[in-house]
């Protein structure tokens, strides 16, 4: 060691400074794990320094990266160039296959704070892991175009996973359709009314607060009211609502956050709890809300909308927005003469208006999908009820009521009326009353009450029988009106089938319609149709005949029972008499 060459007086430890006059300084070299004090000449070069270091740290020179005061020391530099003096510290990184200064030390709680810190800029303190559920949950459909609340998106998933009644699925479908049809969505969005509403945070807040259930919810979850009161957040949410792309973005973020949440032990339960605690009340709250304006979207947004709340629920822009769609397909077919309006829901079972998913088109009603849907609906009265109570349905009806023009347009499109001026006229006259009726909660509840509907149907049947037996009696019944409509609901599938036939029995139908309208306007009573079942089901009877069911009586009975649904009638026939 003494003379390893360049015997320098100042030669310390393992150091070979080149310049003999270099003062030796002690520099601390620090790695995240380690710390060494290295003596080196003041004017040494970085390379020399590294040599020393590599010896001490047992690493190769080219693995070493030295950092001082935020700068990387390059081999060609000298220590003094960087101002490295005695007693100062230089950071060392030894690059191994997978080393890199282990940063564990900094900020211990990184993982937890992660969520808070890193996530979405715009997340004012929403902490996904809060079990108390900072916000209400979004009820059914995940894909609500209008995500007003980031928080809620958390619940989206939970909502989606849990508890979809048929109705929910329906809604989801609708929403999906809506989502997949950006044009429609943007149309709806562009509706100035919608925009107005959305751009008014106060208004939104009021709407939300007005709902007693919401208030309850707010009481239980103060965060919700915070959110509501945070204008920034509301504005953001509304912007989001306006901007589908943003929304999707948000949804993705939320989904991610949510899935993160799920992976936390116990997280899934928390989610579930949140859903039950919050989503349910929200959903029912939504349903109860009555729209205050025309646009169904509007009302819909109320329900879902607490901006912070339900992302999903948020305004499902009513795909069948009044102005846009109107493609009524007749639901009641001839017999019920239900005119269809553009109300949203698909199954128009009990919906005399033949509310139809106008959004996507004509004749949708006649599609096989519809048919099965209708059947499904008829089998599931609850579903019907759900549907009818859907906020947008209500608003639909309201808007129709308020807008006779629109309603008449809608109705006029109904193929039933197509070739029939007279009928149209009649109907038009009846329209206001008709619409009013739809507004009548009584009527609505009648429609949603399966038993009531059944009763009505029975009455109708009775009247029909009466007609057959005592045709003379009928005319006197006419003024009395017939609630053919509600009953019509029970015979959904009749429509497509019977429509063609109804076309054939035009005049009778007109009368029927007329009556029905009156009936309905009168608040409904028992009713039947003016035509005899035979007449009504003429074409069905023919078909049955052709199929080989020659027992006309039985056929007729079956048809009456099933309301003109050939398939159902056949089943009935087969059930009663093995043919």
């Amino acid at each position: 060691m003494a003379d390893q060459g360049a015997a320098d007086p100042g030669n310390n430890n393992n150091n070979k400074p080149e310049a003999s006059e270099g003062t030796i300084i002690k520099v601390t070299v620090k790695t995240p794990k380690d710390k060494e004090e290295i003596a080196i000449a003041e004017d040494a070069s970085v390379t020399q320094f590294k040599e020393e270091i590599s010896r001490r740290f047992k690493a190769k020179q080219d693995q070493l990266v030295l950092i001082f005061a935020g700068k990387i020391l390059k081999d060609g530099d000298s220590l003094s160039q960087h101002g490295i003096k005695d007693g100062l510290t230089v950071h060392l990184v030894i690059k191994t296959a997978h080393k890199a200064a282990d940063g564990g030390s900094t900020s211990a709680s990184s993982s937890t704070s992660t969520q808070a810190g890193s996530t979405s800029t715009s997340n004012p303190g929403t902490n996904p892991s809060t079990t108390t559920g900072s916000t209400g949950s979004a009820p059914p459909p995940t894909q609500t175009p209008n995500i007003l609340s980031k928080h809620l998106s958390l619940f989206e998933k939970s909502g989606l996973g849990m508890g979809s009644a048929n109705f929910m699925e329906l809604q989801q479908q609708m929403q999906r359709q809506l989502m997949s049809n950006p044009e429609m969505l943007s149309q709806i969005m562009e509706n100035p009314l919608v925009q107005n509403m959305m751009s008014n945070p106060d208004l939104m807040r009021q709407m939300i607060m007005a709902n007693p259930q919401m208030q309850q919810l707010m009481e239980r979850n103060p965060e919700i009211s915070h959110m509501l009161n945070n204008p920034e957040l509301m504005r953001q949410t509304m912007e989001l609502a306006r901007n589908p792309a943003m929304m999707q973005e948000m949804m993705r973020n939320q989904d991610r956050a949510l899935s993160n949440l799920e992976s936390i032990p116990g997280g899934y339960n928390a989610l579930r709890r949140m859903y039950t605690d919050i989503q349910e009340p929200m959903f029912s709250a939504a349903r109860e809300q009555v729209s205050v304006r025309n646009t169904s979207l509007h009302s819909y947004s109320e329900s879902g909308a607490q901006p912070s709340r339900t992302e999903n629920r948020e305004p499902l822009p009513n795909p069948w927005g009044p102005p846009t769609s109107s493609n009524p397909s007749e639901s009641g077919g001839g017999s019920t003469g239900s005119s269809s309006t553009t109300a949203g829901t698909t199954p128009s079972v009990s919906n005399p208006l033949g509310i139809n998913p106008g959004s996507l088109g004509n004749g949708m009603f006649n599609s096989p999908g519809m048919q099965s849907l209708l059947q499904q609906i008829s089998e599931n009265p609850q579903l019907m009820q759900n549907m009818l109570s859907a906020p947008y349905m209500r608003s639909m009806m309201q808007s129709l009521a308020q807008n006779p023009e629109l309603a008449s347009q809608v109705l006029m499109n109904n193929p039933l009326f197509a070739g029939n001026q007279q009928l149209q006229e009649q109907f038009r006259a009846q329209l206001p009353i008709f619409l009013q009726q739809m507004q009548n909660p009584e009527a609505l509840s009648v429609m949603t009450n399966p038993r009531a509907m059944q009763a009505l149907m029975q009455i109708q049947q009775g009247l029909q029988t009466l007609q057959t037996e005592a045709p003379g009696l009928m005319p006197s019944l006419m003024p009395g009106g017939i609630p053919g409509i509600p009953t019509g609901g029970a015979m959904p599938t009749e429509n497509p089938a019977s429509s063609p036939s109804s076309a054939g029995t035009n005049i009778a139908q007109q009368q029927l319609m007329h009556q029905m309208l009156q009936m309905f306007a009168g608040g409904g009573g028992g009713g039947g149709s003016t035509q005899t079942p035979e007449v009504r089901f003429q074409s069905q009877l023919d078909q049955l005949n052709a199929m080989g069911f020659i027992n006309r009586e039985a056929n007729l009975q079956a048809l009456i029972a099933t309301g003109g649904d050939i398939n159902a009638a056949i089943e009935r026939l087969l059930g009663s008499q093995p043919s």
């Binding site: 995240p32 935020g70 700068k71 200064a101 993982s111 992660t114 890193s118 800029t121």
Partner: protein, 144 residues
Amino acid sequence: LAISRVKVPRNFRLLEELEEGQKGEGDGTVSWGLEDDEDMTLTRWTGMIIGPARTNYENRIYSLKVECGPRYPETAPTVRFVTKISMNGINNSNGTVDSRSIPILAKWQNSYTIKIVLQELRRLMMSKENMKLPQPPEGQTYST
């Protein structure tokens, strides 16, 4: 706001931070110093962050530029990555750090320091949403 304290003049503060940077206080995972030793205004600083282990930033050394304006420390410094990085809150094309997305920059307090900023950025690298982000090849820098 912060507790009422004596307001330390800017230069004193920065000199303190300079000294601290040179002494290598801390855990060795961040480093900072004047960009130019002759800079009398103590405005331009360089910083270095060593990518935390078990993230996609591991094994990398990120170089940054920190600018402490005339109103520092009352106002937050502006921070910019020199080494290319993919991270939330960092502009992809020029490496500027979005003050609104980094919590301590957004809610700056005059007791914060450059060191704290660097450490915070490093901490954010370990966040779930950042740690797995695919990173550009090592050694690339932004053109500005």
